[in-house]
Structures are given as structure tokens and as C-alpha cells.
Amino acid sequence: MTHGKDRGSAGLTRRGFLKTSAATAGVAAGSGVLGAPMIWAQTIKDITLNQVGPSYSVIADIAEKASADLGFTIVPQTADSTSLMTKVVSQPETIDIADLEFWAMQKVWRSGKLQPVEIARIANWSKMTPLMKDGKNFDGSDLSRQGTMPLEVMYTGGPGDTSFAAGATDYATTMPTIYNADTVGIRSDLIGRPVESWAELFNPEFKGKTALVNIPQIGIMDAAMALEAMGEITYADKGNMTRDEIDHTITRLIELKRDGQFRAFWSTFDESVNLMAAGEVVIQSMWSPAVTAVKSRGIECVYQGLKEGYRGWGLGMGLMGHLEGMKLDAAYDYLNWYLSGWQGAFIARQGYYSSVPETAKANLTLNEVGYWYEGKPATEDILDPYGAVMDKAGAVRDGGSFEQRMGNVACWNTVMDEERYMVQRWNEFISA
């Protein structure tokens, strides 16, 4: 992470691309009006856009609906964030649109393989939530800056700029799409008492029945939330620990592991679901849809909001540098379609939030808006995006309303300056 920023020779050709794309951008201005692409209908069918991103963001149903609405083809392809980052850097031509997590932007943007999103061409940008657009909480206060707060990687000076701007400009690095607040999943039936603090993750009561995610950057932050909640250390920035803080955290984790605190360290979505569903684990780091998956098996599993707050994350759609002409126009049409509501409603039913809540809510039923966004009890059964019953009438979403959940983010998924050292120590922990 400490090595030079702008090495590599891709800069010149990229700049060439950007010039041409800037020119075509002017010609096509205005084509971003929703659902009304101004591209000539004959050739529009021949356009295909490869959208690559993690499975929770790039969803075949969404691509299908968009292709039907827009008249050109979106080819969805899933890749986990780390392999996507490698692809963006080393095989940029295989991707047209990359769904990149904000922390990944910290690593990828400076490679210069992406072009900025012209905000003027995104019709609904002004309706975007202040969490993403302004880095402000709902009450106007500043968001936690621990980790990669979205605003920190949101803006850039303009085409060719490989650094981030401190505040709003006319160019966004990516267009924010989905985000959520993560916490721990618990088996409320097996615990049988309220769980309120991250400290419970390391409570000896759950010895041999806890699990952490084996993704170093995220696992260490969950551990940090727990250690801080136990009152034994206060981090200056959990998202960017010093070597001493990393050492302290890993040493404590190794102690806990030797004491038999952990049952497992999971790496994939299904592992986390199975650990929970099989009763191997009663409290662990978890993603929201994994909790949904456990619940849909009829097992009591709660995505427990905790008093110290959530670990937030989010991602945006990035335009690859090689997009130009009609393909770039089509990409902008797709971006605009994305914020027009259908996609927002789809992912809402999966427990994620849309960067333009207004349009997403307009595409949900009143009952769904109440359950997913407002923390109200469901008036009738809640269905997941595929029509299966997810929660019964009368149920309330874990953690409450949109404002209560997203307004209480304590830190954001991130990469640390000392990442190389951290990964090395994390390996030590896993092999201890």
C-alpha cells in the first residue's frame, strides 16, 4: 500500500479513451432520461454490456428486467470483490460495468482503469440519500469516518484524475447502488436471553459456539467491535489500525482461539448459513441475506442490532475506461434505469437499501415499505424477491427502521494502510 501511486503505463491510452468519451458525452447529453434511450433502435439491440460484481449485487433477474426495458443486453457475471478487483486492473477489457465495494475503490481507482460517472447524466442523483451523496447522517450530522466512509471515495476531480476529491464535484467515481448495516446473527432460540452488545461475541458463555468471517479486513473489524465493547481497548480508527492495535487484536484473538471460543471461521455465504442452521454456532458475524436464508428454513435466527452500532458497507457501479460512444450511452441508460425504482424494490426485499430510497419505495407495497424501511410490523406476510414467505404478518424487521439502522453505523468496511501486515498476522491467527 505504501508503494508508488501512479506507476504503470496505462495512463496514456486511458487518457485517449477519456478524451473521446468526453466528446461523445456531449453529443449524447440528455439521453439519460428514464426509459427513453435516444440511441438508434436498429443498433441498440446489438449492444451488450458485461456487468461484473459480487452475487449480492449482480443479480440475473435484475439484468433480465433491465434488458427487457432498455432494449439492449446486460450480461450479468458474478465475481467476489477480490477477484473483481484483479480483473478490473489486469483484464479491464472483459468488463463494461463493475460493481465495486467502496473499500475496493480505495485500491482500484488509482489504477486509472475506470472512468468517472458524470453526475449531470444521472437524473436521480439529487434524490440520492445524504449518506452516500453528502456523507451526512439523516439528522445532518457527520457520519462515522472509521473505515471507508462512502463520501471519502465518492468524488473525483474529473476524467483522468486518479485521486479522490474531499467533497462533492461534478464527477463521481461510481454511482452508489446498494448498501446495508451489518451486525451479528444470533440463534435467539438457543441463547434464550437478550443480546445487546458486541462483547457477547467473545462471552465465555458461548465458548465453542461462535464464529467469525474469515475475510481478514472484515473479521478483524468485527473482533475490534467486540474488544472495544468489552472495554479493554479503544481504537483511534477501527478501519485503519496501527501496528500496535493490530498486534493487540490478533494476540487477543489467538488467546480466545486457544481457549476454544470459536467453532469455525467461515469464508462463504453457505458456510455461514449451515453453521447457524445446524446449531454449530449460536452467535457469529453474518450477512443479512444469510440470516434470511436461515429464517426461511423455519429456524429462529435474528440479525441482532447492537448498542455499539453497525458495520456499514455499500457499493457502486463503475464505468470501465474503455466504454465510449453508443456503448457508453447505453451504460448511462442502464445506470439511470438502476435508480428508477424496480431494482431498488427488488433488493429491498433482500434486506438491502437503495441509494435512491424514494423511487424504491414507490415500487414497493405500503406493507413492504412499512416493514423494510419504516420498522413497522408487517400487516401481511412478507415475501422475498422470489416470492417465498420470508416473515409472517405482525413481524418487525430486526434493528428497526432505515434511519435507526443506517443512522447507527460505527464503522465501514475498508482496507487498512497496514493491510499487508494485518493479513500476515491474520494468517498467524488462523493457523494458531
Binding site: 500500500m1 505504501t2 508503494h3 508508488g4 506507476r7 504503470g8 477480490t82 478487483m85 484483479t86 486492473v89 489486469s90 485500491k107 482500484v108 488509482r110 489504477s111 465453542g208 464464529a211 474469515n214 475475510i215 481478514p216 482461539k257 470459536f262 467453532r263 469455525a264 471461521f265 467461515w266 469464508s267 458456510e271 449451515n274 453453521l275 445446524a278 446449531g279 454449530e280 482496507v415 493491510e419 499487508r420 493479513v423 500476515q424 491474520w426 494468517n427 498467524e428 488462523i430 493457523s431 494458531a432
Partner: protein, 291 residues
């Protein structure tokens, strides 16, 4: 090459004959390994790699205790699995070759050994999880029969589970070569040994084991290299609680630290080459195969 071949071509002929294999080896083995070695000297900043010449990756890998722990752990797995698969493989082959006299039965039982291999590795591995889990079949059986009153945690997500899975996955790689070399043993030799007054144990240690050692050596090479190169079984069956050399490499690759992973890979290749050449020193496989 005899005088019949046209002059001039005769000196080239052997080279032409080895050329196809040499080219394939160069393309499929030489170039990839060369690339890994090259990469291990390059620099990375966590997103791209840059051509350079630095010892830093090796310094990182060699200066931490983790590397030693990882290698010790992986070697421990390899040793246990090797002993277990040799014992099982030898016993199975012995039974098939010397107790089952009917050729049809021999082939039938041999095919039976391969049945689990009709499904994928992953399926065979994952199917242990519901069986060994805390609320799994085996624990339920133990509790119902009154042998234990609490589920045994050590069965799953432990070294036990990892080793068990390795043995399950890799025993066939031991059975096949041992069976093959045992089947080649001339029955007259055993008759002769018996006529000369050798006990069954003496026949086993004095005749059968020495004559099967090619098979044991070949099987050992398969098993050792498979265990040393694995990360998936360790990750899944230990529930991420243990690490092998390759799983650490995978962690580094996931974080885009390719050069560090490459340095570790070069170390691993060296260790495996040493192990394989040690096996080859004990048994001259080429001479034995030509027999």
C-alpha cells in the same frame, strides 16, 4: 538407429522424438513455474504488481514464525495421511491379490473400491459435514446408544475431520499402484519361499513388501503431493480453524498480494521436490517399472 535410416537424419532423430514431450513439458510445466519464480521477486502494492527485483517477499515469508507453523502443520497432515493410506492401501491390495483368487471377483472388488470416485471430490468431502456435525448422524447415534451424553465437538471442524477426509479422498491413489505392483509378483516366488520354510510373516516382509515397494513409492508420491497442495479440504473441514501452506497462499492471493504468495509457492515447490526425490532415492522407480 541402423544404417537404413538416411544419413544426417539419424543424429536428429532422437531429438525429434523427444521434442513433442519436451515442448509440452516446457509449455505446461516450465513456463508456469518460471512465471511463479519471476513473480516472487516482483513488487506489489496490494493492487498491481510491478517488475522489480526484491528479496522482500522472501524476507516476509521467511522472517515470520507463521511459515514454519504452516509447513509443520502441512507436513503433519501429510505424514499421518501417508501412514494411514499405506496401511489401508496395502491391506486392501493384499486382500485383492492374494486372497481373492478368482479374476472376476478381483476386478469386481477393485471396481467397488472406485465407486466413491464416481462422484466429485467436493461432494465426497462435504457429505462428511452433516454426518460428523454437532447435531449430525454420528453424534446422535452416540448419544442414543448412551455412549456420551454430550455431542463430541472434535469430530467436525478439527484436525481429525481434515485427516479423515484426506484418507477418504486419497486412499485409492495408494491402492491402485500397490495393487498393480503386487499383481505382477510371480506366484512361484511365494511357493518357493514357502517350500524353503518361510513363515507367512517372513513371506510378507521378505518377498511381498520388497516387490511392492514401487507401488508404495508411487502411491506415496501421489498422496504427499496431493496433501501438500491442498487448501480446500483444510479450509472446509477444519471450519477455517487450521491453515495449510496453500490456504495461506490463498489468503494472500485474495488480498492481491501475488508476489508474497509466489514466494511461498516457490518454497513449497522446493519442499515437495525434496520429499519426492527422497522417495525416489529409496526406490528407483524407473528401474523397477522397466522390470
Amino acid at each position: 538407429m541402423s544404417a537404413q535410416s538416411p544419413g544426417g537424419g539419424s543424429r536428429l532423430t532422437p531429438y525429434l522424438q523427444v521434442a513433442p514431450l519436451a515442448l509440452i513439458m516446457l509449455a505446461m510445466v516450465g513456463i508456469p513455474i518460471g512465471t511463479v519464480v519471476l513473480l516472487s521477486f516482483w513488487e506489489s502494492d496490494g493492487i498491481s504488481v510491478y517488475p522489480a527485483f526484491t528479496w522482500q517477499n522472501y524476507r516476509d515469508v521467511l522472517s515470520t514464525g507463521v511459515t514454519l507453523t504452516l509447513f509443520a502443520n502441512t507436513l503433519k497432515y501429510a505424514a499421518i495421511v501417508l501412514v494411514a493410506t499405506v496401511l489401508i492401501g496395502f491391506t486392501c491390495s493384499y486382500f485383492l491379490v492374494f486372497h481373492v483368487r478368482n479374476l472376476k471377483w478381483q476386478i469386481g472388488l477393485f471396481l467397488l473400491c472406485t465407486i466413491p470416485f464416481w462422484t466429485s471430490n467436493v461432494i465426497r468431502m462435504v457429505s462428511w459435514i452433516p454426518f460428523l456435525g454437532r447435531e449430525g448422524l454420528f453424534n446422535r447415534m452416540l448419544m442414543q446408544s448412551g455412549l456420551t451424553d454430550r455431542p463430541l465437538d472434535i469430530l467436525l471442524y478439527s484436525d481429525f475431520a481434515v485427516v479423515l477426509t484426506y484418507i477418504h479422498l486419497f486412499t485409492l491413489f495408494m491402492i491402485v499402484p500397490i495393487f498393480n505392483s503386487m499383481a505382477k509378483i510371480n506366484p512361484n516366488l511365494i511357493e518357493a519361499a514357502r517350500d524353503a520354510g518361510a513363515s507367512s510373516w517372513q513371506i510378507l516382509t521378505g518377498v511381498i513388501i520388497p516387490l511392492s515397494r514401487t507401488g508404495i513409492a508411487l502411491g506415496s508420491i501421489f498422496v504427499v503431493t496431493l496433501v501438500m497442495g491442498d487448501f480446500f479440504v483444510v479450509r472446509v473441514m477444519s471450519g477455517g480453524q487450521s491453515a495449510s501452506v496453500v490456504s495461506a497462499m490463498k489468503n494472500q492471493i485474495d488480498q492481491l498480494f501475488y508476489p508474497q504468495a509466489a514466494a511461498l509457492a516457490v518454497l513449497l515447490v522446493l519442499v515437495v521436490v525434496l520429499m519426492v526425490s527422497a522417495i525416489l532415492r529409496v526406490v528407483d522407480i524407473r528401474a523397477e517399472l522397466a522390470r
